[in-house]
């Protein structure tokens, strides 16, 4: 019943499909003429993979994500999404906000369907799509609730469902799990892996947590502050066919976490 809704939403993909979904080329951002948030950053995001941006507070992760999302203009440099330069927000990218950014006066289903509402999709059609993603994030039965009636974890699921329902190629997630407890967080991370698997989308994921980055990422970009730059690209070579619990005890997993730790520590000192 929702397939019809989805074809209507399919973003135009006339550009030839390369392996790189998002390409950041020599991007700098200077706030107010003085604060160098990003300095000549170059970074590629492979299609269909999850890339984490990992780094200390204030190193420009949110800034980079907002520039990719078209919410912020870079001072110099270029962002390419599917080969086309970014000039403002577009249907090929969807944002998941750190503070959820839900509308408190709207029900769960209206919040989830809001991206489609802004695209002028008819109510019945957009609610059918929203319904599908509400179920996908495990919130069936909460459609008519308001955000203040939900827990923090549930609110972030609403934010995630909203981003999924516009069927963008690239999902931009700014520390989506930072406001939830450790248990919920682990559950979310597993769900996120399943999503990457099924949705065939490119995920760009900002996090503070080394363990989280190693656990969910195909690729980790280690960012360092002042001036912000990519210090290292790490591809955790983890066998995901084993169970989540076994994975967290996997030597490769633990080694990668340790390696990033020592990398960050050497820069701090």
């Amino acid at each position: 019943m929702t397939s019809q809704g989805n074809t209507a939403l399919k973003t135009t993909q006339d550009a030839p499909q390369s392996d790189i979904a998002v390409s950041v080329r020599n991007v700098s951002k200077i706030y107010g003429g003085a604060i160098h948030a990003l300095n000549d950053m170059t970074l590629d995001f492979p299609r269909g993979q999850l890339t984490s941006l990992l780094g200390p507070s204030g190193c420009g992760k949110t800034t980079l994500l907002k520039i990719i999302g078209g919410l912020l203009d870079q001072t110099s440099g270029e962002i390419l999404v599917n080969g086309k330069p970014v000039d403002g927000p577009g249907p090929d990218r969807a944002f998941v906000f750190q503070d959820f950014a839900l509308m408190p006066w709207a029900t769960v289903i209206r919040n989830v369907a809001f991206g489609l509402e802004l695209r002028g999709i008819a109510k019945s059609e957009r609610e059918a799509v929203a319904e599908k993603y509400i179920a996908a994030v495990g919130l069936s039965g909460f459609e008519k609730q308001y955000p203040h009636e939900l827990s923090g974890g549930m609110r972030q699921r609403v934010g995630l469902a909203r981003a999924l329902s516009v069927n963008a190629d690239v999902l931009l997630l700014d520390e989506p799990f930072s406001a939830v407890d450790e248990q919920t967080r682990r559950k979310f991370q597993e769900d996120l892996l399943a999503l990457v698997e099924h949705e065939k989308k490119t995920f760009i994921f900002v996090t503070h947590s080394i363990e989280e980055a190693v656990y969910v990422s195909d690729q980790i970009a280690l960012l360092l502050a002042r001036p912000s730059r990519v210090s290292e690209i790490i591809k955790p070579d983890i066998d995901r066919s084993i169970s989540p619990d076994a994975l967290r005890r996997d030597p490769v997993y633990l080694d990668t976490v340790e390696r990033i730790w020592s990398s960050l520590r050497s820069y701090v000192e």
Partner: protein, 254 residues
């Protein structure tokens, strides 16, 4: 939830009863010979109702009041939203309303009468001067303080500037805009009575001044009481409108 609502109502009724009892008590001391008890006032209210003087007075009073409040609401919210959206409009318009809010009305009334005479226009102006500034300033504040992240959300999901204003900024600002509207309406009521007392005694203002002149204090207070009741009912209606139209999420917990 039902329990909550009934207990809220019970508390409101209790508060009203306490006020009336205190009034009755103060009237019986008596505080002043010109201060009637609650029961005497109710008696007076009954009398001015059946002799038709209230019925004749209200249309006269309501005309400038409703006109002034309607103009203030529409114009005030529009200007306030514009101020909140644009710094340029703020720099241009804001000083006018700050001055208006602090201007001594009694000093302005002779000027208004000189310019517009003693008719409806002057009275509507008085209502507007009282009601508009607080509506404008509240609306501007509410719009200015819309959370950045939901505005960014609107942009990132491709909302047009108009959609962002109407679907995000206005609903988000609605509670504070309506708070301003309630304050403005109360001020408008004061303005309407003030204009009748200071410009020409018409409507309720006439009932008040007349009964004061012939020392019918119960009837005078009854007239004042009736306008307060009207104001409270009016404010309640505004709150209902707000909750149904703009903030369904607050309806249950209110």
């Amino acid at each position: 939830m039902d329990k909550h609502l009934t207990s809220a109502r019970a508390l409101k009724v209790l508060s009203i009863i306490i006020v009336f009892c205190a009034w009755e008590y103060a009237g019986r001391i008596p505080v002043s010979p010109a201060f009637p008890t609650f029961l005497e006032t109710m008696q007076g209210l009954w009398e001015i109702t059946i002799d038709g003087s209230l019925l004749r007075a209200y249309p006269e009073t309501l005309k400038p009041l409703i006109l002034g409040v309607a103009i203030s609401a529409v114009l005030g919210i529009t200007i306030g939203v514009a101020i909140g959206l644009s710094f340029k409009v703020e720099w241009f318009a804001s000083p006018i309303f700050v001055v208006m809010q602090s201007a001594p009305l009694a000093a302005l009334i002779p000027l208004l009468v000189l310019a517009y005479g003693i008719g409806l226009t002057s009275k509507v102006m008085v209502v507007c001067i009282m009601a508009m500034p607080v509506i404008v300033l509240n609306s501007a504040n509410a719009v200015r303080h819309t959370p950045t992240s939901i505005k960014e959300m609107g942009r990132s999901f491709l909302g047009s500037p108009m959609e962002i204003i109407f679907k995000i900024i206005l609903p988000s600002a609605a509670p504070v805009i309506f708070a301003g509207l309630r304050l403005g309406v109360s001020a408008g009521f004061i303005g309407a009575i003030l204009s009748e007392l200071l410009i020409t005694p018409t409507g309720i203002g006439d009932v008040i001044t007349y009964n004061q002149a012939i020392a019918e204090y119960a009837k005078m207070y009854a007239a004042i009481f009736s306008i307060i009741v009207l104001a409270v009912v009016f404010l309640d209606v505004i709150e209902k409108i707000e909750l149904t139209l703009f903030r369904p999420d607050k309806r249950v917990s209110a």
